[in-house]
Symmetry: C2
């Protein structure tokens, strides 16, 4: 691949991006697409819907870019929560470090690479990409100090930036804990594995235990119930009812485009159904408080404490002399809880964890078998054998370039789209108790998967059978990587262009929801505002993606510096696009409070160390003992730096500091809010959305601020009240 | 090596053992050796010293064996503490599991091995040892199910035994916590990394912090002081004074055997010196309470709480939003504390840990270079080249056998004796706060070292340069091990005979103290009762030794079953010898409360899994897919079992259960002892032995039970009062 081919590829991709972004800026102005592009605004009840039908609606404009650029971090924090800020910080960090890397690599390393060997240089456009990599530097060259210096500069500035990021995010997390509205999860401990006794119910056992050992701070508790068959039927019925209701909104069928098979006869059916559901619901409304008490108790309960500190202590301390009983941990936020997983017996959890770990590893290694099989089919000679009539087209150089450059990575990307759902499935089976925990677990799995299957397998030349063989000889790893990375650099550049930029365009276009919406609007003739899917930000797919590009950037930086401009462009675009999406599309119903940052930090350190190991291999191949000697202390220092950060910052992401909690408790006590908080606490955790709605309603009638929850409002809005951003209304 | 050579070797070793044990039974009856063989009894003040000078004293008798055998576990627990019981449990476990292994291996596996190939068998004494190993079974033999069955039986019974041992030791630990006399360490939290402020002293900062956040449970605190130069001089002077005093006890020199250079002129010097020290001490007695307050404070303090539960909570919870400040942990027992390490800044600790880890690993790999060099010198041809006059002797078969069989392992053993002190040094540098923690850390290091350098390096044929190469190919490890273990079995048998049995004889003889004592008695003409070195049980050398033999037993059991009888004999002897030593020789000043058991458990699981992996390799070589298939689930089950035990039992060894502590607090409160405990608590931790002795004395005068600490008693006895076994007197 030469420079001109690379530029062609870049040109095509830039063109595609410009077209898609322009298309987006038009589409987002169409009223019919409001539900696709402004989901968050709809959910928070702020949409301007009735735009005049003017010419401006069909002219692309960069206003969304300006808006995304201008929004301050405080606004993002208020809208998207801390996780969104952390995610954007990853991008800011990447932009910063790769700007530094770009300066040093393009002005120092690139010339050294280019003039590394005495050779006749062609004109630059027809120069091979290999000439710009470290592979072009001749063995024993004294100019390798330039690479070593660049490595030092990159690693040191990355460490400094990482340190300050970690520090500021830790600070942000602390102020997230202290300054946010009183959070029921701070007062609540989730107790699992309550011992079974024949004489008492679980509830009585819990009460006895906590009144005995935590008499001064224990307030009350709430059992977790096994969702029985009746419960499931009820919620299914509710779902169906809602679904049919939206269809039935438009009972007078009006077939404009085509005769609609759904309408006509079936309308009456819908009506019958919905009225049936209504009557079922009516009956249940009478008896469901009784039903709730009859439900089967699980060996898990939420225990409410009078102060945050007491809850923290109860969560931290080992309760019983049998560590498998009375397992306590701080409860997740009400909206974050995965109720279905709370009933999983605690004894099963470690088996589930091991099983999913093994399953994920097996999936990681087996994944490439179908992919390479299909990729193999796209090899040109294979293709022309299978489809002889294509022979003519395939021999054209442009088509040839397009196919060899694109098709394998497109197929890989297509298959990669199946990975996050699979990993999410594994994470569900694992049995986490919170949605954020599930997402974090999936994020880690997807991250390992991506790094292994995109980076390593491609570097180690992709053959599935050789995957394991390559690592059978541990000592040669640096050398093998050193040989492979510069030669694979051109693939990674096209990967950044195709996968990176294209994925951003797809992200901003929201292709799948857009198509669904179009299908609904033009085929099903539904109104555009029947928005039901409130998407939450897919951290588990986006964080690994961004981190992978970071890994590519670090490892290629001094080997093949040409990749950095493309990466920088990707990070800039990503910064704008994701800001826009956070502002407009995604809803943050729950958040982890920056729990993703330690993952990011560790991965970046991993990338740095990998870069250093590869550099070690390269310097070894190039026979530069001085550079090798200087790289080894760098590795040690990087690892020590990581250990320091782990000691200094990580505990804050794991546990709450007593000092902070006690101060918060005191403030609440002094301001007299504690009483109010205690009252609210009892209703914070509602297990069954259908019945709990009613239970909550009844209790809320007693609350002094009845404004906050009007019976007429939609369920989604009622739930929103407990979302981290808006729970002040109910809770204060 | 054939059977007769093995039996010769065994015969020699049995002979040596019998002679040494007889010698021991005589030596222990000599009054001059009381300090060597009855150190514990002297320390606890119970010795019958004036035996009549009768004939019986020179006749070997097995009375000590009977005594060691008859002592019950309760007595051992009372005398040697829980650690001693745990150590003996390792031996009991080994005896049990290898009895089972002996039965199945000798009656099932050994015949299969022996008749594994159609061959002409010689008479058994001249049969090669290889004939009894699995190497003799022909490839594809259907009889390999016998080995697989034996493996299953051994692994399953080992798991069952391990489970019950872990369970009973956990129970023992719990009752050790609950039933022991009130332990000051339960009420005390060690705070480190107290933030420095310009306005206040550390002591004031501590007081402010804990009265602020732990107002209801905080009682008082005690700062840790940096031991300054004056302090060091004082303690040195004290030591010298004591040393010279014992020499000066016998001022009228009486040269019987030889003219003693120490006496005569120098006596007066001693007197001058000792009187000087006395006067220095006299001056200091006046001012040392003032001196104590002038000492430089460290950023560490002991904080005393009113209840055990409060202390536990304060130790468990993260105190500050900066995890590197206000680091709390439960304090060790008073006699267990390593005062010198308390002043190490907390920030240094992680660097120290990493540094010592790296140093220990380097030591592990570099250790063998000098050893193999010297071992190489002992090769017969090398020897006869270097010393041509030895040629005649070396060609004799007996000498030949002795040298090739013995000398390498004797050299290895001699070098191995330097390992525990080195590892102990590393552990000291690491900065543990307690003696038991230091010993545990050293134990782990010695264990890794022993397993690597005795087992793996010998199996992988010992060449230092090949050590790393062998493991460069990860996938072949099982096969390489499978090839090596049966062939190295004869070496391990001689290792058990020479190292195992001989080390037990050395242990019971206490060679080094015996020689020191003899030197003192016959050369320096000192009285035998000037006993100063109170030895504590060297768990860090003995546990790795026993575990190594366990590892040898497991890995060789189905490969070369002939080793098992020798091992069983070793474990039986060890059981008797160590019981005797615990009863008579070693003092348990401090203990870890069974902290060694998790190490033992994990090592045993490691041994089992290693055995299974080796078996996997062997079944692979012997082309028995069925046996291979049956082994893989066994590995998985063993690992799952380990994980289960880690979940079920390990937390108890790490933290205290709230339930237990609260119950203990309540009992004390109801019985009214709490007040008394609080009073005692203030004086429990005395940093400076010299001055603290006086401080304690003054405080103790106020205590209701002045009997317990008479001023005239020896320091060692006063200290003994705080030893786990005897602190009831002072503390209750």
């Amino acid at each position: 691949m030469d420079i001109s081919a690379l530029l062609t590829s870049a040109g095509i991709n830039i063109g595609i991006c410009v077209v898609l972004f322009s298309l987006y800026s038009i589409l987002r102005k169409q009223p019919s697409n409001v539900s696709v592009y402004f989901g968050r605004r709809i959910a928070s009840g702020r949409t301007r819907r009735n735009d005049p039908y003017c010419f401006e609606r069909f002219v692309p404009s960069p206003s969304w870019i300006l808006k995304a650029w201008e929004t301050s971090e405080e606004e993002i924090l208020a809208i998207g929560g801390m996780d969104a800020v952390v995610f954007l910080r990853i991008l800011v960090f990447s932009i910063r470090i790769f700007s530094i890397a770009a300066v040093i690599c393009i002005f120092l390393v690139l010339p050294v690479n280019y003039y590394g060997q005495e050779m006749h240089h062609k004109e630059i456009p027809s120069e091979e990409l290999e000439v710009f990599t470290i592979g072009n530097v001749k063995e024993g060259s004294t100019w390798l100090w330039a690479h070593c210096l660049a490595l030092y500069v990159i690693c040191c500035s990355a460490s400094v930036l990482l340190y300050f990021e970690y520090k500021s995010i830790t600070k942000m997390r602390l102020s997230h804990i202290t300054r946010s509205a009183p959070n029921p999860s701070h007062f609540t401990v989730l107790v699992r594995s309550i011992p079974w006794s024949q004489e008492e119910s679980y509830s009585e056992t819990v009460k006895k235990f906590f009144t005995n050992y935590y008499a001064s701070s224990y307030m009350s508790h709430q059992m977790v119930y096994r969702s029985g068959t009746v419960q499931k039927l009820m919620s299914d019925a509710e779902k169906m009812y809602k679904m049919f209701k939206t269809v039935a909104v438009d009972p007078t069928c009006n077939p404009k485009l085509m005769p609609c098979g759904f309408c006509g006869e079936s309308t009456s059916d819908f009506k019958i159904l919905s009225s049936e559901v209504d009557s079922v619901k009516g009956k249940m409304n009478l008896g469901d408080l009784e039903l709730a008490t009859e439900k089967k108790e699980c060996a898990a309960a939420f225990v409410f404490f009078k102060t945050r500190y007491a809850a923290d202590v109860a969560a931290d301390v080992l309760q019983s002399s049998n560590p498998m009983l009375w397992v306590t941990e701080l409860a997740p936020e009400p909206y974050d809880i995965l109720w279905s997983n709370l009933c999983i017996p605690y004894r099963q959890l470690w088996i589930r964890k091991i099983a999913t770990l093994i399953a994920a590893i097996v999936f990681m290694f087996v994944f490439l078998i179908p992919v390479t099989f299909i990729q193999g089919l796209t090899q040109l000679d294979q293709l022309s054998q299978t489809f002889p009539f294509l022979k003519g087209i395939l021999q054209k150089p442009f088509v040839n370039q397009l196919l060899t450059g694109y098709l394998p990575s497109v197929i890989l990307i297509a298959f990669l789209y199946t990975v996050p759902p699979t990993m999410m499935l594994f994470s569900v089976v694992e049995g986490p108790i919170s949605r954020s925990g599930r997402k974090k677990s999936a994020c880690i799995k997807v991250l390992y998967f991506t790094i292994w299957n995109v980076f390593f397998v491609n570097i180690l030349s992709g053959s599935v059978i050789r995957q394991l063989n390559v690592f059978s000889s541990v000592r040669d790893v640096p050398k093998q990587l050193a040989k492979a990375v510069p030669t694979q650099a051109s693939f990674f550049m096209t990967y950044v262009l195709s996968s990176g930029w294209a994925s951003l365009s797809c992200e901003v276009m929201q292709l799948f929801p857009l198509l669904c919406n179009m299908f609904k609007t033009f085929v099903l003739r539904m109104k555009g505002d029947s928005y039901d899917g409130t998407l939450s930000f897919p951290y588990h797919t986006e964080i690994p993606k961004v981190l992978l590009f970071g890994l590519l950037g670090f490892t290629c930086s001094i080997m093949a510096p040409l990749i950095i401009p493309f990466l920088l462009m990707y990070f800039f675009l990503a910064y704008l696009v994701y800001r826009n999406q956070i502002l407009n599309v995604y809803i943050s119903k729950y958040e982890s409070g920056g729990q993703f940052w330690p993952i990011v930090h560790n991965t970046t350190i991993f990338s740095l160390v990998l870069t250093q190991i590869i550099a070690l291999g390269v310097f070894g191949i190039k026979q530069s003992p001085v550079a090798t000697g200087f790289t080894i202390p760098l590795i040690i220092c990087t690892l020590l730096f990581n250990e320091f950060c782990r000691q200094r910052f990580y505990p804050i992401f794991n546990r709450n500091a007593a000092q902070v909690l006690i101060e918060m408790d005191r403030q609440d006590e002094q301001s007299g809010r504690l009483e109010e908080i205690h009252q609210q606490l009892q209703t914070a955790y509602c297990q069954f959305q259908l019945t709990s709605h009613d239970i909550c309603k009844r209790v809320h009638d007693n609350v002094q601020d009845p404004e906050s929850l009007k019976p007429g409002k939609e369920l989604s809005q009622a739930n929103e009240l407990w979302s981290p951003r808006m729970n002040c209304g109910l809770f204060l």
